[in-house]
């Protein structure tokens, strides 16, 4: 079952094509992770899917309707998008920024309601930033700021949530926490989640569906078990690797192999200085 899909999508900036005849289906109610090398077009793909960028050919379909034809505000109630590097307005507080997530739910003249308060409060609690509510966003650490942006996307309460690298800037504890939070959201509300991740192991563990993008095309898509293979990693990232089963989840786990330190290290002995 698919609500969101891209059909023969081509897009770019100016003359250079970035996405080339890309087709994909986002499984509804599941977590999809998009992986790929830098500059392969992941952000461009997300921007097309959220209608921020008009494709030069093909289309993005939400519930059978091309997204280009859906009014902006109506689309924003269905589909939320967290860009890769959003700008926090100078001097805005955490509470105010997160409150912006309620915008698509408010009419031009309607007042702020208790439901809006509740949605904002839930988002602040879920991302554990209640204590930061009165702080200025530009005075936060990169990781705290990232959680504020995620809280804003949560306050939007959309059925589909697109996140471009939600775990950048986060330490490992917060990366795991954010991903757990997204799984909670997916399980409790059935939110369809599409996220760009750079950590292949976390992607394989947390995603139900993995899409590997290479040079503006879908190189492989499917269950992480079938997508995260030594061949795929070599073709998509140009890196040799070993794939082992993750001892906790059973999902594939990738160990990259560089040019150095690929054999057992002789200094790694108990009697070494």
């Amino acid at each position: 079952m698919t609500r969101l899909a891209a059909e023969g999508l081509s897009a770019g900036y100016g003359q250079t094509p970035i996405l080339r005849d890309l087709t994909l289906k986002v499984p509804t109610g599941a977590i999809t992770a998009i992986v790929g090398a830098n500059a392969c077009g992941k952000s461009t793909l997300l921007r097309c899917m959220s209608r921020l960028l008009r494709p030069s050919a093909g289309r993005v379909v939400l519930d059978g309707r091309p997204v280009q034809g859906i009014p902006t505000r109506a689309l924003a109630r269905e589909l939320g998008m967290l860009p890769q590097s959003p700008i926090a307005p100078d001097g805005i507080t955490v509470a105010d920024l997160v409150s912006h997530g309620r915008h698509p739910h408010q009419g031009p003249l309607s007042r702020w309601t208790a439901a809006d308060d509740a949605a904002v409060a839930t988002a602040l609690e879920a991302t554990r930033i209640v204590d930061l509510a009165d702080r200025d966003v530009d005075q936060l650490s990169g990781g705290q700021r990232q959680r504020v942006w995620i809280a804003m996307a949560l306050a939007q309460e959309t059925d589909v949530l697109l996140l471009d690298e939600p775990t950048t800037f986060l330490d490992i504890a917060h990366q795991v926490e954010i991903l757990d939070l997204l799984v909670d959201l997916n399980q409790s509300r059935g939110t369809t989640i599409v996220m760009v991740l750079h950590d292949l192991n976390l992607a394989a563990r947390y995603a139900d569906h993995l899409i590997a993008v290479r040079a503006g095309r879908v190189h492989a898509a499917g269950h992480p078990d079938t997508v995260l293979t030594e061949d795929t990693v070599r073709q998509v990232f140009g890196v040799a690797c070993r794939i082992l089963p993750d001892p906790t989840s059973g999902r594939p786990m990738m160990l990259p192999l560089g040019r150095h330190r690929t054999t057992a290290d002789p200094s790694h002995r108990k009697d070494a200085p």
């Binding site: 109506a74 805005i92 409060a121």
Partner: protein, 346 residues
């Protein structure tokens, strides 16, 4: 998650913030009333309370009462012009995401002034409503011109490029205005005193045709408050939250141009109010445009009224035009803003 009955910590924090702003609003309103009283009672000639009361009722029996009768429309004009410029400045800073945006710095007032001078010199324009519409046209043309020039090249419309394009446009239009006036001794004197920017010659019937334009500008600007909040997060995030980017920008810009054009038509170009006021208000109420815009209007009115009063007092027995006073106040603030921000941002 907590029970529905107990107010959650996060909700309490949200509500506390709103209450603080309402208190500040009351304070600013009181200051505006005080500024109006000062403006009516202070000046080159001081008047007593009895005269003020009588003058407000329209009596002009004594000299002092006549002075009050002149100061009342003057105060009202300073109030309207200050509110319009403060609001327009806040809106322009929002549209362009540029802390240096101001109707003066972006060349909008100068464009309006040039259009009016061309109208007077070349087309013999004489009616007030013609002044107003010509000024609006000039303001709109200058705004578009500066935006296009400032967006050229890599990086789009960065604050510094916009400020430079605006400064260049101001210089160009001002020199052009001077060139037009040079051979025209018949109109030069009147135009020059208007060009400094002042509220001295205010009269109720001269303000009347401006009111509908100012009202339209006010409504357009206040309606775009939420859209401006979203624009502040960058176009992508704003569109993702359901903002119509182009429409928000166009409507808000139209509102600002109406305000600047109408104000310039009656008072001449008054600079720096639109720059100083929004920055001051951000310190008071934060960056939410639903609060920032009304506060900027109120504070702009206060600032212009007080500047006008100051201009009357410092240069006794003569008067200093309000445009000069605001320039004195605004220039240091401009430097402060530029210094406060990291160079990367500009």
């Amino acid at each position: 998650m907590m029970a529905a009955g107990a107010p959650r910590a996060a909700v309490v924090a949200l509500r506390r913030r709103r209450r603080g702003r309402v208190a500040t609003l009351a304070g600013v309103g009181a200051m505006l009333a005080l500024a109006c009283v000062l403006s009516v009672s202070l000046g080159t000639r001081s008047v007593g309370w009895a005269d003020i009361g009588a003058g407000l009722l329209g009596r002009t029996d004594t000299m002092a009462q006549a002075v009050v009768a002149v100061r009342v429309p003057r105060t009202l004009l300073a109030c309207l012009a200050g509110a319009a410029l403060g609001l327009a400045g806040a809106v322009m800073q929002g549209i362009t995401r540029n802390p240096l945006a101001d109707p003066g710095i972006l060349g909008v007032n100068a464009g309006a002034a040039m259009a009016v001078v061309i109208g007077i010199a070349w087309f013999g324009m004489a009616t007030l409503s013609a002044f107003i519409w010509t000024a609006i046209l000039g303001a709109g043309a200058a705004a578009c011109f500066v935006y296009v020039i400032g967006s050229l090249g890599p990086g789009g419309a960065t604050p510094l490029k916009m400020a430079l394009a605006g400064a260049a446009t101001t210089i160009a239009t001002s020199s052009f205005t001077v060139a037009i006036l040079l051979p025209r001794n018949d109109i030069a004197g009147g135009v020059r005193s208007w060009q400094v920017g002042g509220v001295g010659g205010a009269a109720f019937d001269a303000m009347l045709p401006c009111l509908p334009v100012l009202a339209a500008g006010l409504v357009l600007c206040l309606m775009s408050a939420r859209g401006l909040n979203l624009l502040a997060m960058g176009d992508d995030a704003a569109a993702g939250l359901g903002a119509g980017i182009a429409r928000t920008r166009a409507l808000a810009a139209l509102g600002a141009v109406l305000l600047c054009g109408a104000t310039t038509a009656i008072c001449g170009p008054i600079g720096f109010v639109g720059l100083v006021v929004p920055h001051l208000c951000r310190l008071l109420v934060g960056v939410d445009h639903r609060w920032l815009l009304p506060f900027s209007a109120l504070t702009g009115a206060i600032l212009l009224i007080l500047s006008d009063v100051a201009g009357r007092i410092v240069a006794r027995p003569s008067e200093m035009d309000v445009g000069i006073v605001t320039a004195f106040l605004g220039a240091p603030v401009f430097i402060w803003i530029v210094r406060r921000r990291r160079v990367r941002d500009l």
